[in-house]
């Protein structure tokens, strides 16, 4: 593992040690976040799956009714019946925070409170199957919005999970080992310096002792010459 390109000094060592502590704490927090996001994501995906199945079944039902209605009525009559909508829907958008991901919350309100105000056509020239199609579609509007909300949430959570996972991995497999390696390198370098210093000192000491011994020897010789 490549180490960081830093000066092997004590100050750098303390700085790196502090960074390592932060990285470890960050790694743990991000891992917790990822696990929690995963849990939320899975529960939303399950909900989404069930809802999608029921919406798809209802849509197929509506489609079938429309197919029969359009077989019985000519297309011009069918479209004329639906060209001027009677009911209006307003959609409001809010946000909910899941683990710092802002997911949308849809809410819709129909203009008229009366649930039977959804048929914009007269009954003489239209087929009964059209009623069924309109009723089915109107009933699943709420579910369809919820499905859109869940799918958007799942998509945003998935993106966030991916981002968090990349961060966790970066910390776990790159950042932390790199820091550890660099710390180890600095410690070794510092120890090496220490040992160098020590042996130099010992050498100096030896040299000084040698010099002292030689000096004493010389003095002794001089003393001996004087006596003789």
């Amino acid at each position: 593992m490549a180490r960081l390109n830093v000066n092997p000094t004590r100050m750098e060592l303390t700085r790196l040690k502090r960074r390592l502590v932060t990285a470890r704490r960050g790694h743990k927090l991000l891992k917790d976040k990822r696990d929690e996001l995963m849990k939320q994501f899975l529960s939303i995906v399950h909900q989404n799956h069930d809802l999608r199945q029921s919406v798809e079944a209802a849509l197929m039902q509506a489609h079938k009714s429309f197919a029969v209605a359009s077989a019985v009525m000519s297309p011009e009559f069918l479209e004329e019946a639906l060209m001027y909508p009677k009911q209006n829907v307003s959609l409001s958008l809010k946000y909910r925070n899941i683990m710092s991901v802002n997911v949308p919350l849809y809410d819709f309100k129909t203009l008229s409170e009366d649930a039977s105000e959804i048929f914009p056509y007269g009954l003489a020239t239209t087929s009964g199957e059209l009623d069924d199609a309109v009723i089915t579609l109107s009933n699943i509007l709420e579910e369809m919005l919820l499905l859109a909300q869940l799918e958007k949430t799942a998509q945003m959570l998935a993106q966030e999970i991916e981002k968090t996972r990349r961060r966790v991995n970066a910390l776990e497999y790159v950042m932390i080992p790199q820091l550890q390696e660099t710390i180890k390198y600095i410690v070794m370098k510092l120890d090496e310096n220490e040992r160098g210093n020590l042996s130099r000192l010992m050498k100096v000491k030896d040299m000084m002792l040698e010099q002292a011994r030689l000096a004493a020897l010389k003095q002794d010789e001089m003393m001996a010459e004087k006596i003789s």
Binding site: V68, A71, E79, P120, A124, T125, S127, E129, D132, I135
Partner: protein, 337 residues
């Protein structure tokens, strides 16, 4: 079922027209031919049954092409009937629905600002271009009087209530009133009876469908069409399955009413009721087959042509949508021939 003697046009004036129509009737789709179309293995075989009956070749198995052929067939039939009928009121009764459809479309498109061109059908008594010009210039003098009377009312209703359903109700009532007036003025008991039965069918279906939509009985005042055999006063109550059955018990729509009551009880489908209503109309029309010559032949043929166009649309649309043949057959109306 002959025309009343006081009429200026006599049954004998129909000798040529009736003979011609009788000859053409053999080209109408019989029940057996319809079933053959449903059960044919390929779409080409389905179309072959039609060409055997004198239909033009359908270029491709797409709904757009089929609709074009249906429209062509419809205009040919009306053009022929216009030239054959000694009295133009006979085809007029059958053309009114296109006039009123165009009127509805134009009024609604005025309100929404959408372009209506694709939804208009140039088949009515008033040519489209003329109708559009009349609405633009607000001069209704060349329009049939009954239609002119209802245009400003409808426009006003739509701008006031913003409720397209009320506009449809009001125009539908005007349409059936005009049909009935025309039939009565024409003096054919057969045609009047047909219109009355049609109105009864509309009222039965409206009552059942409104109840199913969860509407209260006050809306019936706008939705029901007066002039049928069954008085609409008898229906202006809280609609219940028993009421429906008892009101229509002695009419020829009793089977349809039974189906309608079943729908309200949650046992049947609207398709069965629609089918029963249309079958009752065909049963009524079948009397015309036993009339050697007279207006009845023409009326029966026109109505049969319309129901044949619907049948062909059901069969081809159903086959293109991949519905099983039994499902298509059970939705087919009874055949006139």
């Amino acid at each position: 079922m002959r025309n009343l003697a006081k009429n200026i046009i006599k049954d004998t004036d129909y000798l040529y027209a009736s003979a011609r129509i009788k000859a053409l009737e053999k080209n109408l789709l019989t029940r057996e031919r319809m079933e053959r179309m449903c059960e044919a293995r390929t779409m080409e075989d389905t179309f072959k049954v039609l060409t055997e009956c004198g239909w033009p070749e359908i270029p491709s198995a797409s709904m757009a092409d089929v609709e074009q052929i249906l429209a062509q067939r419809r205009s040919e039939t009306f053009a022929m009937l216009r030239s054959l009928a000694p009295d133009q009121r006979i085809p007029a009764v059958f053309l009114m629905k296109y006039d009123y459809h165009n009127l509805k479309t134009l009024l609604k498109s005025e309100a929404t600002g959408e372009k209506p061109d694709a939804l208009l059908i140039d088949a009515g008594r008033v040519p489209l271009r003329q109708l559009m010009a009349m609405l633009r210039e607000n001069s209704f003098s060349d329009m049939p009087a009954a239609m002119a009377a209802v245009v400003s009312e409808g426009r006003d209703l739509l701008s006031r209530t913003r409720d397209p359903q009320l506009l449809d109700f009001s125009l539908d009532r005007a349409m059936y009133a005009e049909m009935l007036d025309t039939a009565e003025a024409f003096g054919s008991g057969f045609l009047t009876g047909y219109i009355r039965l049609m109105i009864d069918g509309v009222n039965l279906r409206s009552a059942v469908r409104l109840r199913r939509m969860g509407k209260g009985s006050e809306i019936l005042r706008f939705a029901l069409v007066p002039g049928g055999n069954v008085s609409i006063m008898s229906l202006m109550h809280d609609i219940s399955p028993d009421l429906i059955e008892s009101v229509f018990a002695s009419s020829s729509l009793s089977a349809a009413a039974g189906a309608g009551a079943a729908v309200l009880r949650g046992e049947g489908t609207l398709a069965i009721m629609d089918l029963a209503c249309d079958d009752a109309l065909i049963r009524y029309l079948k009397r015309a087959k036993y009339v050697a010559f007279g207006a009845e032949t023409l009326i029966g043929y026109l109505a049969a042509q319309e129901s044949e166009l619907t049948a062909v649309r059901i069969i081809i649309a159903g086959r293109l949508a991949g519905l099983p043949s039994e499902m298509i057959i059970e939705r087919l109306r009874d055949a006139y021939v």
